[in-house]
């Protein structure tokens, strides 16, 4: 490797030396460098064009790394990750987007992040509770070869926390709906207050997403772009939304659900014991 570098720098000099008197362009110089290779003087070396390309690629990587770090730090995002994700920094450092967790999830909950301004996170796994909920089968954690998802992480037993959306939840204005509280597999995680409105116990809830999946608000309400579709959403425990006590409005949820709390991490283990209190009998949809 070292020897090759020496040879190649010699070659670059030879190339430019030959090209300079002609006042040649960089392309001509590259041709000369190729010619030097042709004459067989530097069999293992680098042509000038290859050197320029490698240098440009290096510069792009430095720029992209800086921009990516800036995007990540300004976005300060806290996505809802599969169980076993320690925190955003750990996941981003270890995930190589091999998609094994995506393939492993029997209910297609784990999906690659789409491309957004926070581009270093693209392709890393997040949970989508549209048509299913997590039963902590841990197949995603088993599948992960990089340690991005691991059994030791606090989120292995506690993915996130459900937040009621006060202007979208049907029980809040019309009353009568108890679907989430009826279906929640963790005893005591959703309780109804004296007006029949659901409240989430932030310690007991383990973020399984069953309530979000079954919430009937979208089919009961006429479509209204100003409110969230569902009346209850699971958010990351590192997000600012998780730090707000009680229910949120749609606008607050939109703004806070992916924003990372400044005291991120302090609340992540609060409900770690909740999985133990899970009812085993909860049937799947």
């Amino acid at each position: 490797m070292q020897g090759m570098k020496e040879k190649s720098s010699g070659q670059a000099t030879a190339g430019s030396g030959a090209a300079a008197p002609l006042g040649a362009s960089a392309a001509d110089g590259a041709t000369r460098a190729d010619d030097a290779t042709r004459s067989g003087r530097r069999p293992a070396g680098m042509s000038r064009r290859q050197f320029v390309m490698a240098g440009a690629a290096g510069a792009v990587l430095v720029g992209a790394g800086g921009l990516g770090a800036f995007a990540r730090d300004t976005a300060q995002a806290a996505y809802l990750r599969p169980p076993g994700a320690e925190d955003e920094a750990h996941l981003l450092a270890r995930c190589d987007r091999c998609q094994r967790c995506v393939q492993a999830c029997p209910y297609d909950l784990v999906q690659p992040r789409p491309l957004t301004w926070d581009f270093p996170a693209v392709g890393t796994p997040e949970l989508i509770y549209k048509d299913g909920y997590c039963d902590f089968c841990m197949k995603c954690v088993e599948a992960c070869p990089t340690g991005a998802l691991s059994w030791d992480a606090p989120s292995a037993a506690n993915i996130g926390v459900a937040k009621v959306v006060s202007d979208a939840c049907v029980a809040w204005d019309w009353g009568g709906c108890t679907v989430c509280a009826d279906r929640c597999p963790v005893e005591g995680a959703i309780t109804l207050d004296d007006r029949g409105r659901p409240h989430v116990d932030e310690v007991l809830c383990d973020g399984c997403g069953l309530c979000e999946m079954v919430c009937p608000a979208p089919s009961l309400r006429a479509y209204d772009a100003s409110t969230a579709e569902k009346g209850i959403y699971v958010v990351s425990r590192q997000s600012a939304a998780a730090a707000v006590p009680g229910a949120l409005t749609s606008a607050e949820l939109e703004e806070l659900c992916r924003t990372r709390r400044t005291d991120a991490g302090t609340g992540t283990t609060a409900g770690a014991g909740a999985a133990g209190s899970r009812e085993k009998g909860g049937s799947r949809e």
Partner: protein
Amino acid sequence: MNKMRYLRIGVALAVLAAVLACTFAHVPAGTLCALCPVGFAEIAVASGSVPWALLPGVLALLAVVALLGRVFCSWVCPTSLTRNLFGGRTPRGLTGRTGTCAGCATGAGSAAGDPNAARTRSSLAAQGIVLAVLLAVSLVVHFPVFCLFCPIGLAFGTLFAASRLLITWQPGWELIVFPAMLLAEVFLLRRWCAAICPLGFFFGLAAKLHVRLPFAPKPRADAATCLYAEGCRTCATVCPEDICDATATPRDLEDCTGCLDCKEHCPTKAVKLTGK
């Protein structure tokens, strides 16, 4: 005509299809990234601890290259697939050549010179520079930075964005951006493989071992039937790397990707896969 090229397209598409099938069958086989030496190194420096569970897959891939040559590049890598699919009649090879032997034209009427003397070679030194920079950047910013540009990652990123679209009906910008980046890298940066691809650095090292293994198959022209002395340069002309199998040195064969175009087109079927 071009039987081998269609076969290579078929194999590379089959790999993508198999990964997609695993997704729908919930078999966690993973993408090629689960075997990638660059991803392994990036994660090690970005997170400060070695992802040992990746190592068996990485070593298995490098062992295949050491035994069979850089067959990954020709037969599996989405970069070559893109070239073979959209590269017209003469898609370029690793070294950025068109498969039309630069040295063959210099003969000026008489028998042409040795094509191997005129080849552009892939450069471990250039790829080594890229690898060193990407590891340094990953170390500083704490995420695997090259994966955002890697043609393999872009191809699988597009594939999984499509599968997410089928499942959640949520399209993302990557459905447009990733294929555009992939095409730009393959067709605007024609020397991507020869000068940039850091996987190529590892494969190049393994290929150095390959050309020295006496039992590992390499394309060589059988002197008994080869028409090189009569002026035939067919193998070098069809070879995407401009390698002439009659005169190739081990250094030339390091760039061979085992595409087998030379074997297919040799007029006397003189090209054999032998350990030499």
